[in-house]
Amino acid sequence: MKETTSSSVSDPRQPSTAKPYVPPTLSPQDLPIDYAGFIAVVVGVVGVTLRYKICSWLAIIFCAQSLANMKNFENDFKQLSMAFMFGVMGLVTIYLGPRPAKKG
């Protein structure tokens, strides 16, 4: 079949031409967009400014998703930490802030 044709001619391997592996370099703009991190930042800011509990919790959840999908640690960490900061700040202001915020 196919393998016999290649092996009958000769062994296809050529150790002399072997090249070592070089990981291809990607510029930060080529990376796929981190939707989870972006949504986390937006929802976190909404939660802090408008004092919606669900927005702050969603920010934490999307931060977790962004963390799970993070491949390139250095590039995405800043956005993730910013989103997490907003989420935590929102939760702190809602639960430990002035009383008019809904309790439970």
Binding site: M1, E3, S6, R13, I54, A68, K71
Partner: protein, 479 residues
């Protein structure tokens, strides 16, 4: 897209100072809120309990005098509330606050909360006497958070459980993906497997590093090199994001599959002018639009070459020349994978095939194969498809176009090269012009600065002269 790029530009290309400032602001705000809350809680804590007991005693309406006597040892804030209670029975609460649902508790921070339940109960008593005993449990509950109903915390509980499930799913999904990748590797990449027989080094070649390179919980890479006609082969496995609960939920709607993409980089002199793609109709249309080389040089083949069996009806061939397509899609291939009958069986694992020597990017001459990964216990189903790879490497490595076809393709490429060259020239000229304009601006600014400086120096000299002049006169007068 723009917004994300903008935020990314802010965070990445912006100075570290901006991030530090953001962090500082966040920390300061959290700290100040915490201290505020702690101080508030300590201020409000005592009146709650002090207000509670006298309120309970207040219920004995028979002996108003006795209650007054018993209340005297209590601290002053509560004694203030005493005189108001007998009066409140006659008329609406004398105290200023309007009905409870209109005023805000925070407006009366200085006044102990004992006054508020007082007025509430008083108004309730004025309305309905039998309601008094029932009102005490409600007022007893309002100052102290003694009752704890789970229902009021549904959002928190659901979010925390979701986060716990997410964490658990991360580890489970990661392991599942690794199992699939290892199953593939054990079938096709280990000793005496097809890639081992065809390539001299697998992965980095040392015995130390593992065969598969993990780029993320769902992306695995495999590299092989050392074969005739090609420089190397990159295989990328893109599995479903099983580690991400939200992606799994989305996958129920948008059905995705585990895929593996092989990219074989051919040697410079081993590939003639071939631009060919093979895929299902929808995918072929999308490829024709997206890939520049297909768009420019190739077109879909509507009719197959005469007198030959051809690929199954579901598939479309996009090629520069019919002759080339006919030569590359040989009978062997049709019998094994792409023919009508065989494709029904093996077709579900095939996605696309793209051979090009004008691939955009740094690696021009390459062959791209994309297949769907079967389940980890059925990996042998794709053996025939994987066997296509060395077959096509040899076929294209040895293939030479006829002189007629060669001249046609050569003309098309020369045209494209000229256009590209013109564009480069234009771009270079524009860049030069920009640089010239910038230089001019710089020169003008420098000149303006120089003239400004000389003016300043002149003014300073004049001032200095003016100051010096009266000096000696003063001295002479003194003498």
């Amino acid at each position: 897209m723009v917004a994300v790029r903008w935020t990314r530009a802010l965070t990445t290309s912006g100075s570290p100072r901006g991030d530090a400032v953001l962090f500082l602001v966040a920390f300061i705000s959290i700290f100040s809120l915490l201290t505020l809350e702690v101080s508030r809680c300590s201020a409000l804590a005592s009146p709650h309990f002090e207000g509670f007991d006298p309120d309970a005693e207040e219920l004995d309406l028979d002996l108003a005098g006795e209650t007054l006597v018993s209340a005297t040892p209590a601290p002053p804030p509560t004694s203030l509330s005493r005189p108001s209670s007998p009066e409140s029975h006659h008329c609406p609460p004398s105290a200023p606050p309007p009905p409870s649902d209109l005023w805000d508790e925070d407006e009366f921070e200085g006044i102990p909360p004992a006054a508020h339940p007082q007025d509430q109960r008083a108004s309730a008593a004025a309305a309905d006497d039998p309601a008094l005993p029932t009102s005490t449990p409600s007022t007893a509950e309002s100052p102290t958070p003694a009752s704890f109903s789970l229902r009021s915390y549904t959002l928190e509980i659901s979010c925390v459980t979701f986060l716990i499930c997410f964490t658990l799913n991360y580890f489970i999904g990661k392991r599942r993906n690794e199992a699939i990748a290892l199953a593939w590797a054990s079938k096709f990449a280990t000793m005496d497997s097809i890639f081992d027989k065809n390539f001299s080094i697998l992965s980095t070649g040392d015995g130390k590093t593992p065969l598969l390179l993990k780029e993320g919980p769902n992306v695995f890479k495999f590299y092989a090199s050392g074969r005739r006609f090609c420089q190397g082969m990159f295989a990328t496995m893109e599995l479903l994001s099983r580690h991400d609960l939200i992606s799994l939920a989305l996958n129920v709607v948008f059905r995705k599959k585990d895929t593996i993409t092989f990219e074989v980089v051919m040697k410079e002199d081993c590939m003639d002018h071939v631009v060919l793609a093979l895929a299902r109709k929808k995918m072929a249309k999308a490829m024709h639009k997206e890939k520049k080389d297909l768009q420019r040089f190739a077109s879909p083949m509507v009719t197959p070459p005469a007198g030959r069996k051809w690929v199954a009806d579901e598939l479309t061939v996009i090629s520069e020349l019919k002759e080339v397509a006919g030569d590359i899609i040989t009978d062997v291939v049709l019998d094994q994978v792409f023919g009508d009958k065989v494709f029904e069986k093996f077709g579900k694992w095939f996605v696309l095939l793209h051979f090009s020597d004008l691939h955009p990017g740094s690696r021009k001459k390459n062959l791209i194969f994309k297949f769907v990964l079967p389940k980890d216990n059925n990996m042998s189903d794709m053996t025939r498809l994987v066997a296509l790879i060395p077959y096509f490497i040899d076929l294209i490595g040895r293939y030479k176009l006829s002189s007629h076809a060669h001249s046609k393709t050569e003309a098309a490429r020369a045209k494209a090269a000229q256009e590209a060259y013109k564009e480069l020239q234009n771009a270079r000229q524009e860049a030069l012009q920009k640089k010239k304009a910038e230089r001019k601006k710089m020169m003008e600014e420098v000149e303006a600065k120089l003239t400004a400086e000389t003016l300043r120096k002149k003014e300073e000299k004049e001032r200095a002269r003016q100051l010096k002049k009266p000096g000696p006169k003063v001295k002479m007068l003194r003498r």
